[in-house]
Each structure stands twice: as C-alpha cells, then as structure tokens.
C-alpha cells in the first residue's frame, strides 16, 4: 500500500509541472515546494520511533496535507486543469487512509477483511489508470489545440504584420500622392500665373512694336492740326486785308476756306484722339467686356498701326495694303481690344511674310524684283455671319507645318523675333467669341487667315 505522504509528494510534484501548454504561476510553485518539504519532513518523522501522541499528530498532519492538496486543487480555478489528476488519485488516497486507519486502530478487523481492502485498492488503481489514460488523451488533444491555436496565432501575426506593412505602404503612398497633388497644384498655379504673364508680355510686346506706328499715326494728324491752324491764321490776316480793301467776295471765299480748315483741324484732332484711346484700351488689363465694335474701323486702325510700326522699325520694309471692307457690315459685340490684337497679329504676320518674300526675290534678282508685296483685309456680311479675311501674297506656309501654326510657342521667325504666341492667342480670341479660325496657304503664293464670327450678340 502506498503511503499517503508519498502520494502527496507525487501530487505536489505533478502540480508543479505544466499540463500541456498550461503552467502554474511562480507563487503556486513556491507553495508546492513548501508542501514537498513538509511531505519529506513527514516521511522522516514516520520512520522515527515517536511517543504515542506525537505519532497521532504526524498521522493527522499527513491526512491534513493530502486533504489540503485535494481541497486546494479542486477549489482554485487556476488549478482547474489538474482536477483530472486529483480525481484519478482520489480513490487511492481514500483507500490508503482507510487502510491506514483500520490497520493501525483495529488490526483484527483489518486482517479479517483484508481481501476486501485489497480489492478496493485494486479498483482504485484501475480507476487511476483509466483516469490517467483519459487525462493523457485530453492532454494530447489540448496539445493539438495548442499547436493549432499557435499556428492560428502565427497566421494572425503574419496577417497582422502584412496588414501593418500594407497600412504603412498605404500611408506612404497616400503621403506621396498628397505631396504630388500639392506639387501639381503649385505647378498648375505657377503655370497659370506664367500664362497670364506671357499673355500680358505678348500684349506688351505687340504694344512695343506698335509704339513707332502709334507715334507716326499721331504725328500725322498733329501735323495737319498745326498746319491748318497756322494756315487759318494767315487766311484770317488776308481776310482782314481784303475786307479793308472792300473785296467782300474774296473775304467770303476766304472765310469758307477757314471754316473748311477748322473742320479739318477737328477731323485730325479726332483721329489722334481715337488712336490714343485705342492704344490705352490695348494696354489696359483685359476686362473681357464685350462692346459693340465697328470691325471695319478696327481693321483700318490696326492695319495702319502695324504698317507704320513696321516702317518705323525697319526702313527697308515696305508693302502695299488694301482694305476691302463691306460698308454694310453690322457692328458686333466683341472684346474690342482682343480683336484689335487679333488683327494686329495677323497683319503683322502678313507684312512679315510679304517682306521676307520681297527680300528673297530681290536677292535672287540681284536688285529690285517686280514683286509687289500686298496685304489685304476683307470683311463680308454673310447673313448670320461675319467673315474677315487677312490675305497676303507672301511666301506661304509649308504644308508640313501648317497644322502647327496655332500651337503656342510655334514660330518660324528667328529667335527673339517672335514669341510664338501670336497665332495661338489669336486662335483663343476667335474661339472665345464662338468663331471659326482657319488658315489656307499655297506655298510661294500666299496665305489667307479666315475668321468667321457668328452674328449672335449683334444689334
């Protein structure tokens, strides 16, 4: 028969050990160690010859110890997993204690019933083995579960790691995209402001080109104003003399001349005035306001400005120009400064083209060729449309580049001579008025720029 104390030692030892993945805390382990020391102490005391009452105390301590182990294991939830083991040992403990008590207190009775005690013991052992097998199975299952859950945990960890990585990547990408977006926005802003600046610069450049033309166009009427006013003064003197001499008829004639001269002074004053106004309008920041405009007058004004501007800049330049304007052309609502710029651009280009051709032909002829450079503006009223053509007999545009002439920054002029924005801006201007802007050109013969404006907005 196993000693109860030995059972205590076995129980305490196995309580310390982990069950599958479950381990007890350090505090419990310490407690179990104390229990082991007590059990070892009790074994020593059992072997020692002790006086009667001490012997009884040792017995009581043995039972208390094993009882405490059973009680603690069954009571505390931390030791739940060891319950199976206690249940396995419980019959053996019971039999051991009963056998102990009976064999010590009533040896007679024990001897008579010993076979029954042994049978109980055997059953207790069978029970313990069965329980052990069940426990082992449970442990295996638990172990399997543990491995499974470990694997799951690992998977979860991997998934978590991947998720984290993804999140990091997403965050990085998002930040990248955001910074790219900001960068693009800044670039767009810069581009927009550059565009505005370029348009303004182009406008100012064409204004600069105009300066000489404007000066000439103002100087001419001013000369007339001065000449006619001086002349009128002289005529007044003459008129006085004639009146004094009594030649009233002649005086009357002179008076009529003076009146005509004053009309001329007025006319030329207005001419200068309208040129200054036109120039101011051209240089003003574009308000985009559409006003009723006489396109014939605009064409005439800017043709002259362009011609005299080019003349003043380049003494070798000369060309003829013609205006074939439809007197029935209705006024149209347009942004007049934009349209002025449009005509100026086209006419400047046309003059440039005929001049280049003239220079080329003169060179080939080794002197003066009989080429007659001509730039023409025609206007036509076509029902619900207005058509304006700017025609030149210059060198024409080669087929290979004619598609490109409306593209910004495309220019055939030498560096510094053109911004490459003129036609592109002209195109934008026509489009902004809902019109059509096309070009037809025959190499060596000349070019026609055609503007067709819808009549909506016409009064």
């Amino acid at each position: 028969m196993l000693s109860v104390t030995i059972i205590s030692i076995i129980l305490l030892y196995s309580l310390k050990r982990p069950f599958a993945s479950i381990t007890v805390s350090e505090e419990w382990k310490r407690l179990f160690n104390y229990g082991l020391w007590v059990a070892v102490g009790l074994i020593v005391l059992e072997w020692m010859p002790l006086p009667g009452f001490l012997d009884i105390l040792v017995y009581l301590a043995k039972y208390l110890l094993v009882g405490a182990i059973v009680f603690v294991t069954l009571t505390f939830p931390e030791l739940e997993h060891k319950k199976g083991m206690i249940y396995a040992w419980l019959p053996i403990i019971g039999i051991s204690i009963i056998t102990d008590i009976f064999s010590n207190l009533t040896p007679e009775f024990y001897k008579n019933w010993e076979s029954y005690f042994k049978t109980g013991e055997a059953f207790a052992f069978i029970w313990a083995i069965a329980m052990w097998i069940i426990n082992a199975k449970q442990k295996k299952n638990l172990e399997r579960e543990r491995i499974k859950s470990l694997e799951k945990e690992k998977e979860l960890e991997i998934t978590e790691e991947l998720k984290k990585q993804l999140e990091k990547q997403v965050a990085a990408r998002t930040a990248e995209l955001l910074s790219q977006k900001n960068e693009l926005e800044t670039t767009l802003k810069e581009l927009k402001s550059t565009q505005t600046q370029l348009i303004h610069a182009e406008k100012m450049a064409s204004l600069g080109e105009l300066t000489a033309g404007i000066a000439h166009e103002i100087q001419n009427p001013l000369n007339f104003v001065n000449n006619f006013s001086e002349l009128s003064n002289e005529l007044l003197e003459e008129m006085k003399e004639e009146i004094e001499s009594g030649n009233y008829n002649i005086a009357k004639e002179i008076a009529e001349d003076i009146s005509e001269n004053l009309k001329k002074i007025n006319h030329h004053g207005n001419r200068a005035d309208s040129i200054v106004k036109g120039m101011l309008q051209h240089s003003r920041v574009n308000s985009g306001e559409k006003i009723l405009t006489d396109l014939n007058a605009l064409a005439d004004e800017f043709m002259r400005l362009s011609y005299h501007g080019l003349r003043a800049k380049d003494k070798s330049f000369n060309a003829d120009f013609k205006l074939e304007l439809d007197p029935e052309l209705p006024q149209v609502e347009v942004v007049s400064q934009d349209f002025g710029r449009l005509i100026l651009n086209l006419v400047n280009n046309a003059f440039y083209a005929v001049h280049e051709k003239k220079l080329k032909l003169d060179k080939e002829a080794g002197g003066t060729s009989d080429f007659h450079p001509l730039v023409k503006i025609t206007s036509t009223h076509l029902g619900d449309k207005i058509q304006i053509h700017v025609i030149d007999n210059g060198g024409g545009i080669p087929k290979s580049i004619i598609e490109k002439v409306f593209q910004p920054f495309f220019t055939t002029k030498p560096t510094g001579a053109g911004t490459g924005l003129g036609l592109s801006l002209s195109y934008d201007i026509v489009k902004a008025h809902g019109g059509e802007f096309t070009v037809e050109s025959t190499e060596g013969e000349g070019t026609v720029f055609k503007i067709v404006l819808p009549m909506k907005g016409v009064r």
């Binding site: 000439h216 001419n220 000369n223 001065n226 003494k315 000369n318 003829d320 120009f321 007659h372």
Partner: protein, 131 residues
C-alpha cells in the same frame, strides 16, 4: 510751272492749295496731286515730256515708297527736280534720298516758309531758263 505733290494723306491737297493760293491765283504756278507712287508715275506719263518740273514726294507711303519713286523719276525724267518729305528726319533716309538725286530733304511738319522760298527760287530759275 507745274508742281506735283505726292502723299498718301489726301488732306495735303487742301493744305498746299491754300498755302499757295496767291501763287496759284497769280498763275505763277499750278499744283497737281498724286496719292501714291504709281499714281504719280501715271500722271507724269500723261504728257511727253511731262509738264511737271518739280516733284515733292512723301517718303512714307504704302506700296511704292517715295525713295523708289525718286529713283524711277530720275531714271525716266532726269530734268525734273525731286524733293523728299519725310516724317522721320533720320540720316539713313536723308542719305538715300540725296544719293538718289533728291534736291532737298524736308522733315514733317513742313516748314512752309522754306518751301515757299524753294519754290520761288525755282520759279525764278524756270523763268530765266525760258527767257
């Protein structure tokens, strides 16, 4: 004595006619006007030899410039005196004009007193030539 004035500004005609009203009235001279180089050449070609003895031409005209006209007149009618009028008193135009045989080079606004003197001298010379 016939004088031809060439300028693309048509009001020049009124101006000159009034400036020289006395001279025209007295029959001392007559004025003709052309508003382009080509018109001037056509006018000169009407009579052979041309009646015109003096041409005043603006330089700055569309089509044929005054300088081109000057060359052509001097080629065809070397006896005709030609003076140039320019809005720009620059030396380049001046030299070109004088090299091509221009008699005088006037800058706008025209100094009419100087021009009158020039014409009076011309008339006097014309008269003495005739005598």
């Amino acid at each position: 004595m016939n004088i031809l004035i060439v300028d693309d500004e048509t009001d020049v005609e009124i101006l000159f006619r009034q400036k020289f009203r006395k001279e025209i009235k007295s029959g001392m001279m007559s004025l003709s006007f052309a508003f382009s180089g080509q018109e001037a050449l056509d006018f000169l070609a009407q009579d052979n030899p041309p009646l015109v003895v003096y041409v005043f031409s603006d330089i700055n005209m569309p089509g044929m410039t005054g300088l081109e006209l000057l060359k052509k007149i001097k080629e065809r009618y070397p006896q005709i005196s030609v003076s140039m009028i320019s809005a720009y008193g620059d030396s380049e135009n001046y030299e070109k004009a004088i090299d091509s045989g221009a008699k005088e080079f006037f800058t706008k606004p025209i100094d009419f007193d100087f021009l009158k003197n020039e014409i009076q001298e011309l008339v006097a010379k014309h008269k003495s030539n005739k005598q």
